[in-house]
Amino acid sequence: MTSSPTSIVTLRDAVVLVGGFPLLSGVNLDLDEGTLSVVTGANGAGKTSLLRLIGGLVGLSSGTGVASGIDLASGDLRELRRRVGWLGHEGSFYDDLSAQENLVFAAKALGRPIDEIAGVLERVGLTSRDSTLAKHLSAGQRRRLGLAWILLRRPQLWLLDEPYASLDDEGRTFFDQLIGDVVKSGATVIVSAHDPLRSSSLHPRTLTMAGGLVVGDGT
């Protein structure tokens, strides 16, 4: 399998089967480091499955793939998961812990200093809600908490699954700004979304999916 020297994701005929159903049916893809890609498509097209495959959250059934230097068929997927930041469209943290407690847990798990948490909460605008239980946060605030979790981790590969769902204008603008900053810092960001990104200054690569395949690729 050949890929460019700066490839962070390379997939060849990647198939993912779950419960006998092909979520991905032969994806071919190369993604370079430090880029922003948006994966669009209808419901059931395979957007989330693609992100989960790249993040080592689901196994490769056939084909070949490498993500962040790890072979998706035979490599250590646990190590791959440590290298990515994941924001799902379901909740990404513990509902019965406060925002602060969730981040303390993540920081201790990662071996990060606890005093970094204050800065992260401020960055995502949750300082005033740090002692609120996660289940009592609004949808937008929960998304921000999920981002805070990733910011603590500082991964090189960000996987954001429909981050704009349930967000108001302010929330969407915030996300666009944050994604822009993250890409500028050298990380690779892959976003799945029904709609293209609002900010035209981001110039994402747009991958269109249907039937578990990448059927369109443009900027």
């Binding site: 198939v15 089967l17 779950v18 419960g19 006998g20 159903f21 092909p22 049916s25 032969g26 196994g59 999916m209 249907a210 039937g211 578990g212 395949l213 059927v215």
Partner: protein
């Protein structure tokens, strides 16, 4: 050599089973105290031996080999699954023959004897294994979880073994040997008992082989279904 031994497995099993039943039912004398009821000694202990040690042991070893990366393969998963299915049959036979023997001896079909109870628990373990397999669609996850569960269930086997010594029990003690390895039954009865152990052990392997072949065929059919699903899914992308 392997093919020859597999071909001989069925006929040899048939011959030994026939010999066991002929010797057990007609040739050997009835017991002094239990009379003809004691002829169950040529069935029940052998069936219990296969249920508790051979079939469960095969499933456990195959599961352990599946969990070890070097020997992990679909073959091991299939062997574990098939062995556990056959184990259910033999555990059931153990309980049934035990009840038939127990009714005239103890006066009841079921007694809360340690070994009977533990064997029944092992039967539920085997059924739970099969339930666990049915609850998981993903083949790899199913195989891994089943393998771990089989190892956990194997912990129960030594408990059964020691239960005869540690728990107050109606069950007779060791059937064949005393604690200091003195043989308890003699002559033709001993030989028939030995043949029965071989016969039922071969029966287990014969059933395992038949079940395994069925599983291979199922796997091939499943692959055809998967291939069709893949084609169908790709068509969605073309439209």
């Amino acid at each position: 050599m392997k093919q020859l031994s597999l071909r001989l497995l069925g006929p040899l099993t048939l011959v030994l089973m026939g010999l066991t039943f002929w010797l057990g039912l007609w040739v050997t004398p009835p017991d002094k105290i239990q009379g003809n009821l004691a002829r169950l000694v040529y069935v029940h202990p052998a069936v219990a031996w296969v249920a508790l040690y051979v079939s469960f042991g095969t499933a456990t070893i195959a599961s352990a080999l599946y969990l070890w990366r070097r020997t992990r393969s679909q073959v091991m998963d299939r062997v574990a699954h098939c062995a556990m299915e056959v184990s259910v049959v033999f555990i059931l036979l153990t309980l049934i023959t035990g009840s038939i023997w127990g009714r005239p001896t103890w006066g009841v079909w079921w007694a809360w004897d340690a070994r009977l109870t533990s064997t029944a628990i092992l039967g539920v373990f085997a059924l739970a294994y099969l339930a666990l397999r049915r609850a998981n669609d993903d083949p790899d996850l199913r195989a891994r979880r089943s393998a771990v569960f089989a190892l956990l269930a194997a912990i129960n086997v030594p408990i059964i073994h020691f239960s005869v010594q540690w728990w107050k029990t109606l069950h007779q003690g060791a059937t064949v040997f005393t604690a200091n390895r003195t043989l308890l039954i003699h002559g033709l009865m001993a030989w028939t008992l030995l043949i029965s152990f071989f016969a039922f052990t071969l029966l287990f392997f014969w059933l395992l082989r038949a079940r395994y072949r069925l599983e291979v065929l199922r796997g091939e059919r499943y692959q055809v279904v998967l291939d069709e699903a893949l084609v169908q899914r790709r068509r969605e992308g073309v439209r």
